[in-house]
Symmetry: C2
Subunit: 311 residues, 2 copies
């Protein structure tokens, strides 16, 4: 059923997303000892894979629900994705953002037509504000990752990658709330040929690694990582999928993320955000494990502030 | 004849170069009012179109000449291109570089297998050193742009672009020594459907603009531009081609180059060097001229020092 659901999801969202290119690099292959296939979701609409899940979640609402619009709280890529996905269908999108969110993030959401409501920067205030908008407008709340439709949508990046390169040995994706990694793992399970999925996350926010060890959802005590998309804890829907379908999590140091990011920029000439470079950092760190293997990586996004680069 | 020569050149170099992708951006189309087609030579081997001309020049040497190797003097992309092109055929490449050339440039040439000879940083010393290497080794000297084979090679980027999108109204390329723009203009003339070629250069080094006005090769009194690939004067072979086939030159301010470069990085998520952003800067500056036109741009290269960005 999940296999058919993934295919149906892909059919539905296809007109609204880019089929992103898969890039290779002789030099990065030599550096890593593996054969790497980079799925360039940094070249996706609005600059990240989140567009896929947002589009799918909105398309699966009833016509009546769609007309009343959607609401979410996010200061990151999901806010932009919901704004652009809703705008693509001519629907209203209400985005709750903390008052201290960077101006560039707010401007991006507004540029896509999202209606921003600011709130105090606490999770309670965000949820309360979103809830109030739901009641006032009848808009449907969409969760950035702990949602079956969103998970399937994120999985279509790996689905496309496996359509292009069916015999990958491994698929790697970064782990934040777990939407991308669980969708990727579903795609690898149903469409790969014995393709195993591996998550990558910073040591600084290694909640997924610890959650797999303890068997329950662990939280992060600090969020001091350059990979700002990966600070979130796992969700009730994503964690069981990760337990079932993800082989392991590789953790990386902050300096390894910066090195990986810089290599991608310098050698592949593409802009990738720190979170998107984490899987490549994991491959470099654990390179004997990937020796001579065919490895797909989801380059999750390319939304960075060019005035605040780590190099 | 030039038409056949371009096609034969493309056939020859094809196994050694990437057929680079053509990217489009809805947002940059909206910003400019034109329909833009970016030929991504920043994704070419060694990161710039120079690979095409270098490959063609070396392939056109006799087997005997090839065995003795090639020599050039350059501190930029052409040095890397000659090193990689020669290495692709297992031939020696001797690169004369000024002793004050940045370490990153020397390392890149060495990484491609080029044999570096350092000299004092004057044009006289560079030519004398190259001449001495010619005499000692029998290597053939290759000029970075004022060479018919090099010009044809550079023209194959536009040839591919016109194969993909035959009905472009304009083709834009940056103007340094004129190898790229004259090759581009030949391709537009022979393979476009009434496609006109326009050059783009910084006001700070507007020798090509002034040369077209005066009818003779003008020089630059300063070289204070961020577009470090465009400081060179035109050559005896490139200037007549530019006079015959290039419709006009658009000049841009330094701040316009930085803005254009940043827009390409932020919106297209690709790394382009300042020189490569100059044509897009020209379109933004002269946007009423390009209104609703189909415009091809050669994104000439992506070799930048990430620790020294202008934003």
């Amino acid at each position: 059923m999940e296999k058919d659901a993934l295919l149906q999801c892909h059919e539905k969202i296809r007109p609204y997303i880019h089929r992103t290119p898969v890039m290779t690099s002789r030099l990065l292959n030599e550096l890593s000892g593996a054969e790497l296939f980079f799925k360039c979701e940094n070249l996706q609409r609005m600059g990240a894979f989140k567009m896929r899940g947002a589009m799918h979640a909105i398309l699966n609402l009833s016509p009546d629900q769609q007309q009343r619009g959607v609401v979410t709280h996010s200061s990151g890529n999901f806010a932009q994705a919901i704004a652009l996905a809703a705008a693509s269908l001519g629907l209203p999108a209400y985005i709750v953002m903390p008052s201290n969110a960077p101006t560039v993030k707010k401007s991006a959401v507004e540029a896509y037509g999202g209606k921003i409501t600011e709130c105090t920067p606490t999770i309670q205030a965000r949820e309360a504000t979103a809830s109030q908008i739901q009641q006032e407008t009848g808009a449907t709340f969409l969760h950035p990752f702990d949602d079956h439709d969103v998970i399937l949508g994120q999985g279509t990046a790996a689905l496309e990658l496996l359509e292009d390169f069916p015999d990958l040995d491994y698929l790697l994706a970064p782990v934040g709330g777990g939407g991308l990694i669980s969708g990727t793992a579903l795609a690898a399970h149903f469409f790969g040929k014995n393709c195993q999925t591996i998550g990558a996350e910073p040591f600084a926010v290694d909640d997924a690694y610890r959650s797999l060890q303890s068997g329950k959802i662990e939280t992060n005590t600090t969020t001091e990582t350059i990979a700002d998309g990966l600070k979130t804890n796992l969700g009730e829907k994503t964690f069981p999928l990760i337990q079932q379908y993800v082989q392991k999590i590789i953790r990386v140091e902050e300096s390894e993320i910066v090195t990986a990011m810089r290599l991608i920029w310098e050698r592949m000439k593409i802009v990738v955000e720190p979170s998107g470079a984490v899987p490549f950092a994991a491959i470099l760190r654990a390179h004997p494990f990937f020796e001579k293997k065919k490895v797909g990586l989801i380059l999750s996004g390319g939304n960075v502030d060019l005035t605040r680069l780590p190099f």
